[in-house]
């Protein structure tokens, strides 16, 4: 009988190249560095539940790949998870059940990925025992906290939380503080940017406020609009090469079956 810890053949990573990589590193090959996710994600507990927040910038190295991606993922109607990259994988592989999510993520990170991906998550939700906020780190450790930040913008966001968080915040105060923290990440961290997404989870109700704030609007839009009519670009030279006459269609197989 397959144990709960057995990896399905397609899951996790293949470690077959580890020995080769170690040998290459010995010979002087420089391995690509481990990059911290370009992101600011936060969560806090307020009097009626939890508020999660995230920026919306997805980066591929120095380039912004997606200006408005979604980093707050649905886990269950009363549990949402902020993360990037692997969090999406996690959503695909495991669907939401009445599991203890942090333990599952711990297993996934620890057994599957063994810390090789930056699955840094801020997981929040409300159940019968009250509001909960957890963080899960790449190697699988978890924390239960009153407020948490993750990602490259986590220090900027944490400075806002550490100076302004108190227990028993109202819903409006909680959303305001989360938005302030994400904005600190957006404007002070190069890996984070664009807009603020917020998710408020309370007993019985969840509000996903997509693009709750848009503090980076496009400041110049041409009033004439952008249309590119024919003739706008000067054509210097035209040469048309017919491909069809060069193609020979021969009957029969060129190769043996």
């Amino acid at each position: 009988m397959a144990g709960a810890m057995d990896l399905p053949p397609k899951g996790g990573f293949s470690y077959d190249y580890c020995r080769r990589n170690a040998m290459l590193a010995d010979k002087g090959l420089k391995m690509p560095g481990f990059l911290k996710t370009g992101t600011t994600i936060v969560g806090l507990v307020f009097q009626d539940g939890v508020v999660l927040g995230a920026d919306t910038r997805a980066t591929e190295g120095p380039i912004v790949a997606d200006k408005n991606c979604e980093k707050i993922h649905f886990m269950a109607p009363n549990i949402y998870c902020c993360g990037a990259g692997t969090a999406a994988d996690t959503e695909a592989i495991w669907s939401a059940r009445s599991f203890n999510f942090t333990v599952m993520q711990l297993v996934v990170n620890h057994e599957f990925y063994q810390g090789h991906v930056s699955a840094a998550l801020v997981l929040g939700g409300v159940d019968v025992t009250g509001p909960h906020l957890h963080t899960v780190y790449p190697h699988g450790s978890t924390d239960t906290l009153p407020f948490a930040t993750m990602g490259s913008g986590s220090l900027a966001a944490m400075s806002v939380f550490e100076s302004q968080y108190k227990e028993g915040l109202t819903r409006e105060e909680g959303i305001q503080l989360v938005a302030d923290a994400i904005r600190a990440g957006i404007f002070n961290d190069l890996g984070s940017g664009s807009n603020v997404d917020v998710c408020v989870i309370t007993k019985g109700k969840t509000e996903y406020l997509r693009n709750h704030q848009l503090p980076n609007p496009r400041t110049y839009v041409s009033s004439k609009g952008y249309s590119f009519t024919k003739g706008q670009t000067e054509v210097l030279y035209t040469k048309i090469t017919q491909l069809k006459p060069k193609v020979e269609v021969t009957e029969g197989d060129a190769m043996e079956e």
Partner: protein, 248 residues
């Protein structure tokens, strides 16, 4: 950014038999925070100096007065800071011996330090510090406040608020959001304490003993050290594994 852990980058260049320029910092101070306010410049730091991961010295002054018009604060290697203070002593002494009624202002001292730092970096023998230079001196437009910094590779600039080390990541977001022109001394102290408290919580090499210094037209004042009150009473801290069986 200065390396406040002993694993700073090693730059070894053998100059000849028996000489080496391998360098990493040994005894290091952490962040300095500084900002301009109505009457001048305020600068603050903790009084700790670490030896790698050990908190070795707990009563170290990392902010000193320079001449009549300036304050210098340093993070990074403490012995290099002491050397820089000696250079500044020589500088201010010769300045005084001119006996011409003029004295070096903060801008001049900053410029001097920039040259020193940049030239040392070019010789692959840096002074492993981030220096913050603040002061007030009468200029053509009246009393002019000045605040700038220079680091171990010679990068230098002027700003209304400065933070070094971990302060770059934790304090600058707060300063950028809350600094205003013409703050009173009390408001400036409150803002600085806000930053120092966040650093105390989140920077492993900071300690709960701080010194605030200010420089105004009246001169430099370095206040005696004091501690900040920390808060640990969150209900989530009382019983952390209550909501998450199996976590730690």
């Amino acid at each position: 950014m200065d390396g406040s852990h002993a694993s700073g980058s090693k730059v070894a260049a053998a100059d000849g038999p028996g000489t080496q320029r391998t360098q990493y910092p040994y005894v290091t101070g952490t962040s300095i925070i500084a900002l301009k306010y109505k009457d001048g410049v305020i600068m603050a730091s903790d009084t700790g100096a670490s030896y790698g991961s050990t908190l070795r010295y707990k009563s170290v002054e990392r902010i000193k007065a320079v001449g009549k018009h300036s304050l210098i604060g340093a993070s990074g290697e403490y012995s290099d800071f002491q050397e820089i203070l000696r250079y500044l002593d020589e500088l201010t002494l010769s300045d005084h011996m001119w006996d011409d009624g003029n004295s070096l202002g903060p801008k001049e001292i900053h410029s001097y330090l920039t040259r020193v730092m940049y030239n040392r970096r070019n010789k692959f023998d840096p002074l492993w510090n981030s220096l913050v230079l603040g002061g007030v001196k009468k200029g053509p437009k009246g009393e002019e406040k000045y605040l700038g910094m220079v680091n171990m590779i010679g990068t230098h600039f002027e700003e209304n608020h400065i933070a070094t080390g971990f302060g770059n990541h934790l304090a600058i977001p707060i300063l950028r959001a809350e600094w205003r022109e013409d703050m009173t001394f009390e408001e400036a102290v409150k803002l600085v304490e806000k930053c120092l408290l966040v650093l105390l919580y989140r920077d492993r090499s900071s300690i709960n003993k701080f010194q605030i210094a200010k420089i105004t037209t009246e001169g430099a004042t370095i206040y005696p050290p004091y501690s900040l009150k920390t808060y640990w009473g969150f209900s989530a801290f009382e019983n952390p594994s209550q909501g998450a069986v199996g976590s730690w």
